[in-house]
Symmetry: C2
Subunit: 145 residues, 2 copies
DNA sequence: TCCTAATTGGATATTGACATCCAATTTACC
DNA sequence: GGTAAATTGGATGTCAATATCCAATTAGGA
């Protein structure tokens, strides 16, 4: 349902939010998130193009968040990589349906809208602050690695 | 977000629910739903294997619903084709997370659960009975074709 | 039994998602 | 200016989703 690339992008952003405002290299991000480095590189490039991340080349460079974790939502990340494909008009191309979706597509789109809302209402800061015994990306209980 | 195959399957089932309990041929279904006939054939085969549809060969044969539209939910159809990939355990394979998802994956899975619930709570009969000016699959206002 | 209607399954083609590798480029620091 | 660190972009490979076509099979009806 959610693509692998979205999953990878979210891991990277969670990691960078935790390290914020410091920058981390692609290798560091890939290792921390257990994602193939070469592929993570492409994912990060996409997040840069979408202005979610900024990149800095050369020694001491790397990737960092453009906005503070409090200002960055899960939806921002998802949209940057692969937007929720909301159903805007009749997928069958039926003219008369136009803006008014039929009962089937109205219900499908409502479900997609609910996902969008859930993602829009959660910031990366909230994810990191969650009082959860399992810390994101971290193999040990507690913020140790 | 939802695959093309799921969309096609839902169109076919909506059409067959409207025609229920009569059978319709693959060609009729494909034409009514604006789906490539050869591909629709494969989609219908899958729905038969999942016991959502039954097939009858020979003259007068075709595809028909196994259950009444009142007993068939959108989720039944979605699950038959491509189940909602709920997040059961940590996608990173981190041992300590196990059943207890981290804050990130807990939120992602909650969104998926919401979609599942929405789909589970809607029957095909409800879709057909919806007082909506746009009739599913039908190019004209009102149940005419 | 024969003919026709209809599904079934296999083979095949195409496209995008996922993934890898490397040369080129940019940048910091000596 | 030179060197090492780091991203960038292009080329490439693999695989699953999408899509098409057809021979084989099943079944109804004259």
């Amino acid at each position: 349902m959610l693509s692998q690339t979205v999953e990878y992008a979210l891991r990277a952003v969670v990691y960078l939010a935790d390290q914020s405002p410091n920058a981390r290299t692609t290798s560091q991000i890939a290792e921390a998130t257990h994602v193939p480095p070469a592929y993570m590189s492409k994912v990060l490039q996409g997040l840069c193009r979408a202005k979610v991340l900024r990149s800095q080349r050369g020694i001491g460079g790397g990737m960092s968040l453009v906005n503070a974790p409090e200002e960055l939502t899960i939806l921002d990340v998802v949209n940057a990589v692969e937007p929720i494909g909301r159903i805007e008009s009749c997928p069958l191309g039926l003219k008369v349906h136009g803006v008014h979706l039929c009962a089937l597509h109205r219900r499908l789109d409502n479900a997609l809208a609910a996902v969008e809302d859930a993602f829009r209402s959660t910031t990366l800061a909230e994810v990191l602050a969650d009082p959860n015994p399992s810390v994101p990306l971290c193999d040990l209980p507690g913020r140790s690695t």
